[in-house]
């Protein structure tokens, strides 16, 4: 069964590229262009991974991560952001994100990190 990824991003170009690349890699991809619709999708579906930007309309990335960690703690999160400041990256990891990718990003590297995050999470659960 295909792994399901929720991509939360408001830049249409990045959305399309991520969708294209992840579909090619064999994942099932859902898109949310803001935090609010991401929350709705999270309630309606089960996801194996969340790929999110930090700067989003309506609900910020940090608020969204807090929401996910509280209500769906088992879903791994990868942040994809233009932020390069150490404090922002540290804050994200402190909130419990699994990986942080800065823009500009390499699509191949991103695909590998997605694979690793989903794989490590699966292993973590199979060990338990």
């Amino acid at each position: 069964m295909k792994k399901k990824i929720l991509v939360i991003e408001d830049n249409p170009m990045v959305v399309k590229s991520l969708e294209f690349k992840l579909l090619k890699e064999g994942y099932d991809v859902s898109i949310a262009i803001d935090g609010r619709s991401a929350m709705e999708q999270l309630e309606a579906n089960n996801f194996d991974l969340i790929l999110t930007d930090l700067m989003l309309p309506f609900v910020s990335g940090s608020q969204l991560i807090e929401h996910i960690k509280k209500n769906h703690p088992n879903i791994p999160i990868i942040v994809l952001s233009t932020a390069t400041q150490e404090d922002i990256i540290t804050d994200a990891f402190n909130m419990g994100v699994d990986d942080f990718i800065t823009k500009p990003f390499s699509p191949n590297e991103l695909a590998l990190r997605v694979k690793r995050s989903i794989g490590s999470f699966k292993n973590q659960f199979s060990h338990k």
Binding site: M13, K24, P104, F105, S106, N108
Partner: protein, 359 residues
């Protein structure tokens, strides 16, 4: 039924029969009415034109995103055939080409690694290189600036004969883009353009260059190459960079510049040497203190505060004019900093003692 011609004739003869003041009023009303109609028509035309252009942009953006993603990630996509077809079908006008350039820039800003060279390939394949080169040959400065920006962002080399004239352009925006292009595309001498300047560097240009240097992947340039430049702004920039990049090997030059004829150069020499924490400057600054202007005296006081001792403050005390409020306050502040127990009165006594000692 009355024909419009006769109606017009009647209206014209009626207007002539009116008293002159009413006639003028009526004529002016008609003129303003026509003018208003024309203005509203123009606004409506521009609005409609803009809406059509925006719609076309949105459509083309979607087509380009789809096309470029296929080009980048779809292995079954026949790149060479599809790029020709896309160019022929969708990039017919200059507007279409400008939209394509903007969208390619968005891709370049967000993707890196193996995709960068493919994005360049798409740019060249869509014929946008020639399009922007023709922009560079036009007179409009904003087209040239945009073209240089795109070439710089996509890391595409262009003939130097097209970039060099922009170095000394009257438009700051164009000059800045030329600097960034040259800096980014140079492998050995990123600041070589400084030697070709025939107008001073503005503060904004200095900030742009400084910022671009932070991302320069090559070896940091030796800033002493331009320290004797005819423009103080270039020399000041280089002195600042020497301190920022810790080029301690140039300390002798900076020390020499503490006695430069131009006060702005002396000021930057103090700032750079202070940043580098070179205590040798204290003796020179104390000697120079009496002849410096208030601004430089302030810098000397700050330097003593950062690197000096109470004895250095004592040495310059006799040369602080009591009527100069700024220097007096700064001097008092430093006196307390060195000796927190010093009261304002005591400090005055201490100053007087030093003065007596000197005399």
């Amino acid at each position: 039924m009355v024909s419009p011609f006769f109606l017009k004739m009647n209206l014209a003869s009626d207007i002539h029969e009116l008293p002159p003041i009413l006639e003028i009023n009526l004529v002016l009303t008609i003129i303003f009415f026509v003018f208003t109609l024309l203005l509203i028509s123009l606004i409506l035309y521009l609005r409609v034109h803009k809406n059509i252009a925006n719609r076309r942009r949105e459509e083309l953006d979607l087509l380009l995103i789809d096309f470029i993603n296929n080009y980048l990630f779809n292995e079954e996509f026949d790149n060479s055939k599809e790029i020709k077809a896309f160019k022929k079908k969708h990039l017919k006008t200059n507007f279409d080409k400008r939209v394509a350039v903007s969208q390619i820039l968005v891709f370049a800003e967000n993707l890196k690694g193996e995709t960068s060279s493919v994005i360049q390939e798409v740019f060249l394949g869509l014929g946008l290189y020639d399009f922007l080169i023709s922009d560079l040959k036009k007179k409009a400065w904003f087209k040239k600036a945009k073209a240089l920006f795109v070439f710089y962002q996509l890391n595409i080399k262009i003939p130097m004969s097209l970039v060099e004239p922009a170095i000394n352009s009257n438009r700051n925006e164009l000059r800045q883009q030329a600097f960034l292009y040259l800096l980014h595309n140079s492998t050995e001498n990123p600041l070589g353009f400084l030697g070709k300047l025939i107008t001073p560097l503005t503060l904004w240009e200095q900030i742009y260059i400084e910022n671009a240097l932070k991302g320069y992947p090559g070896e940091t340039p030796d800033f002493s190459r331009w320290i004797y430049h005819e423009f103080s702004s270039v020399a000041i920039f280089c002195m600042k960079m020497m301190a920022d990049y810790n080029q301690f090997e140039h300390i002798p030059i900076l020390l020499k510049f503490l006695n430069h004829e131009k006060p702005e150069i002396r000021q930057q020499a103090i700032l750079s040497l202070r940043q580098m924490e070179i205590s040798e400057i204290l003796q020179i600054l104390i000697e120079n203190f009496p002849k410096e202007n208030t601004l430089l005296k302030q810098e000397i006081l700050k330097t003593i505060g950062k690197m000096g001792l109470e004895k250095h403050l004592q040495a310059i005390a006799p040369y602080i004019n009591k009527e100069n409020g700024i220097l007096t306050v700064e001097h008092q502040r430093l006196a307390r900093y060195f000796n927190p127990k010093t009261s304002i009165t005591e400090n005055n006594i201490f100053t007087n003692n030093v003065q007596r000692g000197h005399s």
